[in-house]
């Protein structure tokens, strides 16, 4: 029962240069725990000290942003694709 974590090119140096990692399906939390064992430096930058997703990082399960689902409790099923992408944002502001 595996899913795939896709690493965008900007984050690959933190994952030993790999673009994709196989992980056991489960919840996003369990996927990130597995990722933490394989690529600890990457995982440290994704989660804050309380274990929550950092504000400037977005995670998708297939094409759905987990912020609009169940965050770390979002289910990850066999064959799902988890994509980690830092945010690009800004603008004039108020």
């Amino acid at each position: 029962m595996t899913a795939r974590v896709r690493i965008s090119s900007a984050l690959r140096p933190l994952a030993g240069g790999r673009s994709e990692l196989p992980v056991a399906a489960g919840s996003l939390r369990s996927v990130l725990e597995a990722l933490g064992r394989d690529a600890p430096e990457l995982c440290e930058r994704l989660l804050d000290e309380r274990g929550a997703l950092r504000r400037h990082v977005n995670v998708f399960v297939n094409d759905e942003d987990v912020r609009f689902r169940e965050l770390l409790d979002t289910p990850v099923r066999e064959g799902d694709r988890v994509t980690i992408v830092p945010a690009i944002a800004g603008g004039r502001g108020a």
Partner: protein, 176 residues
């Protein structure tokens, strides 16, 4: 950290960008008005200004879904659609190119690098830490100004985590 907006430095020589690239970015900015536009420019060492890739601005979508987390809509900010930018990055990589510039517009104000622009560009996971940032100003439906900002690293600290600051310069049209 307290930030202040960064204006282009009039003492610096203007950056000369290809007219075709600027026209494409300006057209995107005018079409997106009254919202901000955003996108990427790809290229390589020989020509860093090869292709303009429009990306969707998801700020209004995020604001509607989660107003507390995203207090501004697309008129006051941009949030680049991640799938658009990942696709642009993959396609650039397949062509042997990279992302050389992130562009966006400001509507109703100047072409400066705002506090919000800096907050995101300085985050440790920002995917293109050495890219230029092209900001265009749209006022009354017209592009009235543009400026280019880049991270300048302190001497002896070339790495991505070393001390740095953004500097900006005016932009003029090239003849190509």
């Amino acid at each position: 950290m307290t930030r202040r907006r960064i204006e282009p430095d009039p003492e610096l020589a203007p950056a000369v960008l290809p007219a075709g690239v600027l026209h494409e970015v300006f057209a995107h900015a005018r079409e997106a008005d009254p919202e901000e536009c955003c996108g990427l420019i790809t290229g390589d060492e020989r020509d860093p200004w090869r292709q303009v890739v429009r990306c969707r601005n998801d700020m209004t979508l995020r604001h509607r879904r989660e107003p507390a987390a995203y207090p501004r809509d697309g008129r006051e900010g941009f949030y680049m659609n991640e799938q658009d930018y990942v696709r642009a990055e993959d396609e650039a990589e397949a062509r042997g190119e990279r992302i050389t510039c992130v562009y966006h517009s400001h509507v109703g104000c100047g072409a400066w690098f705002s506090e919000l622009d800096q907050e995101f560009a300085e985050q440790p996971l920002f995917p293109f830490p050495d890219a230029w940032h092209l900001v265009v100003s749209v006022i009354g439906g017209k592009v009235v100004d543009q400026a280019l900002f880049v991270r300048e690293r302190a001497a002896g600290n070339p790495g991505p985590s070393g001390p740095s600051r953004f500097v900006g310069r005016p932009v003029v049209h090239g003849r190509w």
